[in-house]
């Protein structure tokens, strides 16, 4: 800080600007530097990155496929051939966990993207235009927020089963369902941020300068909204993965034979498997646990850096 200060004032007083190396430190780069100092957050990021890499690349190197049934190798304990053992149908658990991770992570990511898109769009519109538009959007969000999300998801999931939605499509519908639950809270936060931003003095300056609405929105408001969005989005993925697992565990989300971490635990949900075949439920359970915890740790670290005013 002091070096920058000294350097600029020195250059100011001298008539010819000295050839100082320009250091264009954007707020982004500063944030990154601070994030890297937070060891726990970096650890969280490494775990998340590892999970993504393992799930999306791992199955490519596996000699097994997730649905290959092998009656000769039923309920085998972990060993050299099957690192995490096999299930009641002789399928390789490791391959299935990774394959399930693809689904769970994809569902988490996609529903996050969808709810961030819908939530921030509606939040920005509500916060920027206010008035009647704001009222309509926010009352709709309030309505959805008053319904507890888990029962709502259960009812929607039960409806899917009732309507006999093909299992292939269920994954996409589950994404939609999670976004329906996710966007209202997000829209609320974005709107709040917009209301706060629009009263800032630099926004008053844009009025005095007579800038166009488009520039006010895209060049001045949105760049200040992005840090908040990144934080919410990250924390949102963890929540979505958890919800998807819960739904699948209750047989209301993504259904067998498509593996997800939730329905893999559900498949092992009986006394015999629980006691005698722990390799059937520990790996998916640990995956959910590790992924969600890591995402939350990383998200918390991001928040400390990008949104320092918000306290835990």
């Amino acid at each position: 800080m002091s070096t920058i200060h000294g350097e600029t004032t020195a250059a100011l007083s001298s008539p010819t600007p000295q050839p100082v190396k320009p250091v264009y430190t954007s707020l982004w780069r500063q944030s990154l530097r601070r994030l890297l100092k937070n060891k726990l957050a970096v650890f969280g990021f490494v775990v998340v990155a590892f999970m993504f890499a393992a799930c999306f690349l791992g199955p490519l190197f596996s000699p097994y496929t997730d649905n290959k049934i092998n009656m000769a190798f039923m309920n085998k304990a972990p060993g050299l051939k099957h690192w995490l053992g096999t299930d009641a149908l002789g399928r390789d658990v490791l391959t299935r966990v990774l394959q399930a991770g693809r689904i769970s992570l994809t569902v988490g990511l996609a529903s996050m993207v969808l709810s961030v898109f819908v939530g921030s769009l509606l939040g920005v519109i509500a916060g920027y235009y206010r008035g009647i538009v704001d009222q309509v959007i926010m009352r709709l969000a309030d309505l959805l927020l008053t319904i507890p999300s888990l029962p709502l998801l259960f009812i929607l999931g039960a409806l899917l089963s009732e309507w006999k939605v093909p299992t292939d499509y269920r994954m996409y519908i589950v994404m939609l369902m999670l976004s329906i639950v996710g966007w209202p809270g997000l829209a609320r936060m974005v709107r709040g941020q917009m209301l706060s931003l629009r009263e800032r003095e630099y926004m008053q300056a844009t009025v005095v300068l007579g800038l166009r609405d488009r520039r006010k929105l895209f060049n001045h408001l949105l760049p200040n909204l992005v840090p908040l969005l990144i934080v919410i989005a990250t924390l949102n993925i963890g929540g979505a993965i958890l919800y998807e697992s819960v739904l699948s565990y209750f047989g209301l989300g993504v259904m067998a034979p498509t593996p997800t971490w939730g329905n893999m635990i559900d498949a092992a949900n009986n006394m015999i498997d629980f006691q005698d075949h722990p390799w059937l439920w520990i790996p998916p359970g640990f995956s959910i646990f590790a992924t969600v915890i890591a995402i939350n740790i990383f998200g918390d670290g991001l928040r400390d850096v990008l949104d320092p005013k918000q306290k835990r």
Binding site: H5, T8, E201, Y202, V207, L209, G210, L211, N224
Partner: protein
């Protein structure tokens, strides 16, 4: 310097009341009369200083003129055009001609916008310069404001307070405005930096023929810079006069008190000091009669009952006091 010149800015009977809402249904239970019937005019090339203590409504006057807040009543004419009678598009077109310089250089610059963009974007949006020329124009104005051209791609947090205020000034000047409203532009700055910025204001006035509405609570700054001065108290104009007239012959007791509080750099010189007791009354419930009577050392019974009319006492000297 003829008297017939048309005023650049005319403010007539401007009022700005902020409603006080309370209760479940947010009923309006009263109002803060931040600006209560203010009139003045500024001619081309003049510098009008608006002084008064904190909470006297100076800043609100500036903001209401520029329509950052809506007026309650009155009239604001810029070059003879009533700003409150303009459709939004025409108002936007007129905006570059009247600029505001903010008090706090830390909050008036968007932390995520490079200063080159912050200065140049209005040129772009108003089509005042072709896209290729904007960077050159920005560099020119940076140089004029005492910054260097290599500052152009930096972010506000890389600058000191004084430099940021220069950026704020550059942002206004690049549009080649006729009127600049400066809302306590130096009060957030260090004294040594204050002098630099004030000299910059003077230089810009000399080179570009600017007209200023300079809002300040610092009389010595105003004395240095302004040709005309208006003294506000609790939302009302107490006295207006040319600088020399006001400093030589202050008529209103409040002006006298303010002037007697200006520090003078001669320690041995003793002078009569009028010390005001008490604090600024609540603007939601201003005193009856003359608003100043609660603190006025010369108040008489009439001051409590009757509101003094603002009247001209010769020359350009106007005052609102029964005792004059």
């Amino acid at each position: 310097m003829s008297e017939q010149r048309q005023p650049l800015l005319e403010v007539n009977g401007l009022k700005k009341y902020f409603p006080i809402k309370s209760g479940l249904l947010s009923r309006t239970v009263g109002s803060v009369k931040a600006v209560d019937d203010i009139s003045f005019s500024i001619k081309q090339g003049e510098t009008f200083g608006l002084v008064g203590e904190s909470g006297s409504g100076k800043s609100t006057v500036g903001r209401t003129i520029l329509r950052l807040t809506d007026k309650t009543d009155g009239e604001v004419k810029f070059k003879g055009v009533d700003l409150y009678n303009l459709p939004p598009q025409e108002l936007r077109r007129l905006r570059p001609k009247m600029q505001l310089i903010f008090q706090d250089p830390y909050s008036s610059l968007n932390p995520r916008v490079r200063i080159g963009d912050a200065i140049g974007e209005a040129l772009l949006d108003h089509g005042l310069a072709p896209r290729e020329e904007i960077r050159d124009r920005v560099m020119e104005v940076l140089a004029a404001c005492g910054l260097s051209s290599y500052h152009i791609d930096r972010f506000p947090h890389e600058f000191s307070g004084g430099q940021r205020q220069r950026v704020g000034i550059a942002r206004a000047l690049v549009l080649n405005p006729d009127l600049i409203i400066a809302d306590e532009p130096v009060s957030a700055l260090d004294v040594s930096i204050q002098a630099q910025i004030i000299n910059l204001f003077r230089k810009m006035q000399d080179t570009q023929g600017l007209t200023y509405l300079f809002i300040s609570h610092d009389l010595s700054v105003v004395e240095h810079l302004c040709s005309h001065i208006g003294v506000m108290y609790l939302g009302s104009m107490m006295e207006t006069a040319s600088r020399d007239e006001l400093f030589r012959n202050p008529l209103h007791p409040y002006t006298k008190a303010l002037l007697s509080a200006v520090p003078i750099p001669i320690p041995k010189l003793k002078r009569e000091r009028i010390v005001l007791s008490g604090e600024l009354p609540n603007p939601a419930d201003p005193p009856s009669g003359c608003k100043f009577h609660t603190r006025c050392p010369f108040a008489v019974a009439r001051c409590r009952e009757e509101v003094p009319q603002f009247r001209n006492v010769g020359g350009d000297h106007g005052v609102a006091c029964h005792l004059v």
